[in-house]
């Protein structure tokens, strides 16, 4: 077999920088995949060795997830071949890929809401007892070690629909681990995890590595790439660019490979004298904790909100927006107390909430980019049976240009966009409403470095124009660099509000952990 591989045509420009004598677990050659109107993958090569952590890097829409979906048996490639342990394989479904030893944590959560954590972990491979019947108890017992491994402290009998996003992400990881596979694909597994959980995950990955497992790791967070990977493969516009050993490269070089130009400044932040209080929470309590929260956000100010997964950040602001029932205490907008809170009224008061889960909360996947970007600001161009098409076009073109959304036309269906580009569409929708108070819940989830910088720039400009911004994030670097003040949440309450000169990683984490 090895013989055969070495005899492959020499024009295949694979991995010439990498000399690795370890056996090859996965090899993909000349993979091509087209969707109607989009060439997602052009002649892609990939090699993964035993015990290797291969980073996969590229802008939003570069084709990373598509490539992994080919490896995971979800898409069939138009041409090209896939080898596992040197043997060519043709997966006709997820099951075949699983059986060949490939586990997959998808970019978008894919769990069963009405099954328990244990059932989700063993779905498709349910544990049977001697009578050939599925055994609930046995599954729960077997699930526990995996949950402990990922550090998720929930009962395996709990239904998944009652977990927070971050917790669900951990379940996904536990599920992938339980497959005992030889290859694990992690497609942006940390996009809704915070430092602590990320570190935990990294330890797991390092352990798996020593056991000879191969790991493909996709992330837009450069620090993670440098922390974890042995080699990095870079893709651009569906094409293979290069593979470099991590130890021999720099962040700037990788970014250059990814976007084809230099990006100098990530964090745009000019500081302004804050104005009047725009949003005030007074003894506002919600969620299972019911602990009172006090917070003031002023005009021209960016207030970061940091916390571990399940700390209640999303829950707090969703309740404020009236997107969740409950919540006691006072909410003031521009000094006026808001009586009944519902999303329609809050929007009329000038608030906008960019939700964290783009797929379920943000997007109309079967509508096009135009529909999605304009849906929250219809009043600007429709009145009395007249649709001002010029204005409508302006809105969408504006979003596409300022956020650099990669689409072939405004009529592209949002469901076919890459994850990062979908995230930009959600942002575009809310920016079009010209909010006075902007609440961003993980706005850069899954967004590539270049685009992140652009988003930071936009947020900065908005603040300069007088918008009050709440910036919820699980990425410490991000909130530390972008915020004027930082609220650290823990179990439903604000553990501390730090001003910029008090920002310090250890202090913040101490408050977050309690």
């Amino acid at each position: 077999m090895t013989q055969l591989l070495e005899a492959a045509p020499s024009f295949l420009r694979t991995d010439e920088n990498i000399v690795d004598s370890r056996p090859k677990l996965v090899e993909m050659k000349g993979v091509v995949k087209t969707f109607p109107g989009v060439k997602a993958l052009t002649d892609i090569h990939l090699t993964l060795h035993q015990g290797e952590v291969l980073g996969l890097l590229g802008e939003n829409g570069a084709g990373k997830s598509t490539l992994m979906n080919v490896l995971g048996g979800i898409y069939k490639p138009d041409s090209g071949s896939v080898y596992i342990n040197g043997e060519e394989v043709h997966f006709d479904g997820v099951l075949a890929a699983q059986e060949a030893g490939i586990a997959f944590v998808h970019q978008e959560l894919a769990l069963e809401p009405f099954l328990t954590v244990a059932e989700n972990i063993f779905i498709g491979r349910e544990v049977k007892n001697k009578a050939g019947l599925v055994s609930q108890r046995e599954m729960e017992t077997q699930a526990r070690p995996f949950l402990r491994m990922v550090g998720l402290d929930v009962d395996p009998q709990m239904m998944v629909n009652s977990l927070s996003m971050g917790q669900q992400q951990m379940v996904e990881i536990a599920k992938a681990l339980s497959l005992n596979s030889r290859v694990i694909v992690l497609d942006e597994p940390t996009s809704s995890l915070s430092e602590n959980e990320v570190e935990n995950l990294f330890q797991i990955v390092r352990k798996l590595k020593t056991q000879g497992m191969g790991i493909i790791y996709i992330s837009h967070k450069m620090s993670e790439i440098f922390d974890l990977t042995d080699n990095v493969m870079v893709m651009r516009d569906g094409c293979y660019v290069d593979t470099v050993p991590t130890s021999n490269t720099t962040e700037d070089e990788l970014v250059h490979l990814m976007v084809g130009r230099d990006v100098e400044n990530y964090y745009y932040r000019t500081y302004n004298e804050p104005g009047d209080a725009a949003l005030e929470l007074r003894d506002f309590a919600c969620g299972p904790w019911e602990k009172p929260v006090n917070l003031t956000v002023r005009q021209r100010e960016i207030v970061g909100v940091y916390g571990l997964i399940g700390a209640g950040r999303s829950e707090l602001f969703e309740t404020v927006m009236g997107l969740r029932n409950g919540g006691s205490g006072t909410v003031l907008v521009h000094g006026n107390e808001i009586g009944a809170r519902d999303p329609v009224r809050m929007q009329q008061h000038g608030l906008a909430y960019v939700p964290e889960d783009r797929k379920t909360q943000g997007l109309f996947l079967f509508g096009d980019v135009m529909f999605n970007t304009s849906i929250a600001s219809l009043g600007d161009f429709i009145s009395w049976l007249r649709v001002n098409e010029r204005k409508e076009k302006e809105i969408v073109v504006n979003a596409i240009e300022t956020l650099n959304i990669k689409v072939s036309s405004p009529q592209t269906r949002v469901g076919t966009l890459s994850g990062g580009n979908q995230q930009k569409v959600v942002l575009g929708k809310w920016l079009a409403t010209k909010p006075e108070i902007l609440i961003l819940d993980e706005p850069t989830r899954g967004v590539d470095v270049g685009a992140k910088a652009e988003i930071y720039k936009i947020i900065n400009e908005l603040a300069a124009q007088g918008v009050a911004v709440v910036f919820i994030s699980s990425e410490l670097n991000e909130v530390m660099n972008m915020s004027d003040r930082l609220a650290v949440m823990r179990e439903g309450e604000i553990a501390a509000v730090l001003s910029r000169d008090e920002f310090n990683q250890d202090v913040i984490l101490k408050h977050a952990l309690g």
């Binding site: 329609v344 939700p355 109309f364 079967f366 509508g367 969408v396 073109v397 036309s409 009529q411």
Partner: protein, 334 residues
């Protein structure tokens, strides 16, 4: 970012727009099916294309057409309205009774019949919006209630309208065109405007496409739902009053199973049961197809038992065709 101009050029192909070519493009699958049926019947069924038969066909589809508009809207919200058939009976009975027994003047009697529909529709909408019970269940239960109410109001017997002017509503003409056909055309035009030229229309698409995202987008979810079911109730009731006028009697047994044909027309016309997808023109053609099947098969002297079989097959084939041609609109899942 120099491709702004590029983009603006390509913005032209708005999904919601009016011209004939767009209509054809959007409804290609169903139009092919329609044309096939039309050509087939023109050749094999004598008299199919005669003016008399065309008038007869259009008048006979008008009830289903009016119901299909409301049902289509409910389906676009990934819901359904099963109350419409029973409401046809109830509103007809109520209109005739208020004419006969309460001596209301004709226009008022007609309005009373229609208001019953609005009330029932509002109830449906409010229960659906506030309790979270699936529309299928709510409107099914309401169907049972309305049917019972129709029987009770009418005392189990048809009630004959004593005011002969009442019959004009359903049997009159505007020039050479029967009034029910006029109603149908006007209502379809209004549907077109609603879906393409109003905010509410966009909100319907949005709410049907993703209810959670609609809520997060600041759409008044309750309002949209209540509107849709209330309109559907109104239309069913209007259709029921017109039907009662055509028969000059209110029949508590009228409209049994009408919801089925209305759903079939909406779905053949490209409305997706998963919500968020639907076109006014498509539904109109769907209505015509459903009408042509039974008119055509009768003209072709096909035994009524075979008609059941053929109708079932045509429905599946037509929906399949429409889906193939509009692949983009098809959700995964089923």
């Amino acid at each position: 970012m120099k491709n702004g101009i590029d983009l603006l050029d390509r913005v032209g192909e708005v999904p919601v727009a009016g011209s004939v070519s767009k209509f054809i493009k959007q409804n290609l699958g169903i139009l092919i099916g329609f044309a096939t049926l039309l050509v087939f019947l023109s050749i094999f069924a004598d008299n199919f294309l005669s003016w008399a038969n065309m008038v007869n066909l259009m008048r006979s589809v008008s009830t289903n057409a009016i119901l299909a508009i409301g049902v289509m809207l409910s389906i676009m919200l990934a819901g359904i309205d099963l109350t419409c058939g029973a409401l046809v009976a109830l509103s007809g009975v109520v209109a005739v009774l208020s004419l006969n027994n309460f001596g209301l003047p004709l226009p008022l009697a007609i309005v009373t019949g229609v208001i019953i529909g609005v009330v029932v529709g509002l109830l449906n909408g409010l229960v659906i919006a506030y309790t979270g019970i699936h529309p299928f269940v709510v409107t099914l239960a309401m169907q049972s209630i309305c049917r019972g109410a129709a029987y009770l109001a009418a005392g189990g017997q048809p009630v004959t309208a004593r005011n002969t002017a009442f019959t004009a509503l359903g049997n009159g003409y505007l020039g050479p065109i029967p009034l029910p056909v006029v109603y149908m055309i006007v209502l379809f035009f209004l549907l077109y405007l609603l879906l393409n030229k109003t905010r509410l229309g966009r909100h319907i698409y949005a709410l049907g496409g993703n209810p959670t995202a609609a809520k997060y987008s600041g759409i008044n979810v309750v309002k949209v739902k209540v509107f849709v079911w209330a309109v559907s109730g109104l239309l069913s009731a209007f259709a029921g009053v017109v039907l009662a006028s055509r028969m000059s009697s209110g029949q508590p047994t009228a409209g049994v199973g009408y919801e089925t044909d209305a759903i079939a027309a909406a779905v053949i016309g490209g409305t997706s049961m998963y919500g968020g997808v639907g076109r006014a023109g498509g539904v109109f053609i769907g209505v015509l197809i459903i009408g042509m099947i039974s008119n055509g098969l009768n003209l072709l002297h096909v035994n009524s038992f075979w008609q059941y079989v053929i109708k079932g097959i045509i429905i599946i084939v037509a929906v399949y065709f429409d889906m193939r041609k509009n692949k983009g609109n098809v959700r995964t899942g089923f």
